[in-house]
């Protein structure tokens, strides 16, 4: 009996305020889409970091005949110098941090160069002797590259020690900036959504103020009075968040999995599994925010 009464109140409230309800739906839809995008971008960044950092190596470049940078003096690193670097890598101070290391000769480097830049005219005039002999080191913890850089940079015959993670940093910076922008827009839109829900509920309460006045007079409990209004806000926001969830699924399915993952197979992208974690989160956020703002908005009408 009471449930039916509450639901019929909700229905009439939604119908009466249809244009406001639609705007609530749209604003929550857009704001939660941004929230979801930000969340997926963060997931994407973490996934890429995990993937690439595991593969990122520290390169210990040795001097070539023409190098004068670093510790080089225009002479190729001698065998003794190479042995010394190798001994350092095997020493008890560095060994515990190193997962594996291997030596790349100039010829190896040249082959790799030719393969990587097959289309580039640079291969025409690059000679193996231009390229550095290199110790490639995989660290157990990629973030500890400083130890290696510090202990090897000053070795004779070492041109430079480079952490490849440095090359990835700009990519992550861009992705991070994108994700923070999405978060910023999401926060602004969420504020708009919350205020809009509060306004809608106030409007709805205002159009029913006669009933509310009588309810309060005859002793309807506060919960009974506020439930229809809170439900009204929650239903509108739920529709918006379900739409946002659908948009998330569509974006990931069509754009990320269907296009990006197909065309950039070597890069890991967020999966549908990740999306199915984010979507329920969006719906919960939408419903909770709506309940909160509607509850606050209706409180004024409950004051006794």
């Amino acid at each position: 009996m009471r449930l039916r009464l509450v639901l019929s109140e909700v229905g009439s409230g939604l119908k009466r305020n249809l244009s406001m309800v639609i705007s609530v739906v749209l604003v929550t839809f857009i704001s939660l889409t941004f929230v979801g995008t930000a969340a997926l971008l963060q997931l994407q960044i973490n996934q890429m970091k995990g993937y690439w950092y595991d593969r990122a190596q520290v390169a210990v470049y040795l001097c070539t005949d023409t190098d004068t940078t670093g510790n080089c003096t225009g002479a190729k690193a001698t065998t003794a110098q190479k042995d010394q670097v190798e001994a350092q890598l095997q020493s008890s101070t560095l060994k515990p941090y190193i997962q594996k290391s291997y030596f790349e000769t100039q010829q190896d480097a040249y082959d790799r160069f030719k393969k990587q830049f097959a289309d580039s005219p640079a291969t025409e005039f690059v000679q193996p002797s231009y390229l550095n002999e290199t110790f490639w080191v995989n660290l157990k913890d990629p973030s500890q590259s400083d130890i290696l850089i510090e202990s090897l940079s000053n070795q004779a015959g070492v041109q430079s020690v480079v952490d490849q993670r440095g090359y990835l940093q700009p990519i992550f910076s861009v992705l991070n900036a994108a994700s923070y922008t999405a978060i910023g827009i999401a926060v602004l839109m969420l504020i708009a959504a919350v205020l809009l829900i509060a306004t809608t509920i106030r409007l709805s309460a205002f159009s029913r103020r006669r009933e509310l006045g009588i309810m309060r007079l005859v002793g309807a409990s506060n919960r009974f009075i506020q439930t229809p209004f809170i439900l009204e806000g929650v239903i509108a926001a739920l529709v918006g968040s379900v739409l946002a969830g659908g948009a998330m699924i569509l974006i990931v399915k069509v754009f990320v999995r269907g296009y990006l993952a197909e065309n950039f197979a070597s890069t890991p992208f967020v999966t549908m599994g990740d999306t199915y974690v984010v979507v329920p989160l969006l719906i919960v956020i939408g419903a909770a925010l709506a309940a909160l703002s509607a509850g606050v908005a209706i409180r004024r009408y409950l004051k006794v």
């Binding site: 009996m1 009471r2 009464l5 006669r210 009933e211 006045g213 009588i214 309810m215 309060r216 007079l217 005859v218 002793g219 309807a220 409990s221 506060n222 009974f224 009075i225 004051k303 006794v304």
Partner: protein
Amino acid sequence: MIRFDEVSKFYAGNPRPALNGVTLEILKGEFVFLVGASGSGKSSFLRLVLKEEKPSKGQIHVLGQRLGTLSSRKVPYFRRNLGVVFQDFRLLPQKSVFDNVAFTLQVIGKSRGYIQEAVPDVLKMVGLAGKAQRLPHELSGGEQQRVAIARAIVNRPAILLADEPTGNLDPSTSAGIMTLLDRINASGTTVLMATHDAGIVDQMQRRVIELSGGNIIRDERSGGYQTQAVPIQQVGQEGAQPRVQGVPTQTVPAPRLDPESVAQQSVPEWGADK
């Protein structure tokens, strides 16, 4: 039933109190008229009983509950013991007579079966049997007020508060409403009615509490709208005989009666009352 202990009520921005140290007690089953000029504190009094306002000072007890300590969560349950009727009826225009009365019961969670039984009963009692499916605008003013009364008493409250219930009605319709209120009172409900209608008060000869400027200036067991009992009023208004039908049998002087203030406040009022 209702007890006020030194209750004062100030509204923000107004240095003059709406009620000024009012002390009184209304017993179970009494029929009390609350009279006085506009702004004398009648409505504030009723709102305080309903706990729509909090007193600035003093204690109010209603139905054995101290209102000051009643949490706002319990106020709705407290109000289920009170019925309220207004001058402007306050019916829901899009609901039928039956639904208007049933609405009260629905929102406090009564069962459908109870509503189906109680509403026709109370409509019959107020004399609206057969008009259950009408809409409020199809009824006369008197009938609308009967609907409002039915709504107020359908939950069998111990106290019925009426704020100028006959203010919008012609004398003969008013008489009908008063007969109804009298009958409700006879069945044991305490009735507290604020009114300006001198004829009704004079005719009913019930307890009259007169307020002026927030003070009780008269509390008569069985009096009229105006009375000879307070001598200062005659002095201030020579030749103007108060319209009292029947001599008051017993007079309870107001506890805070101050002849000077009464003289100052009541003289212009008597003049205006003509």
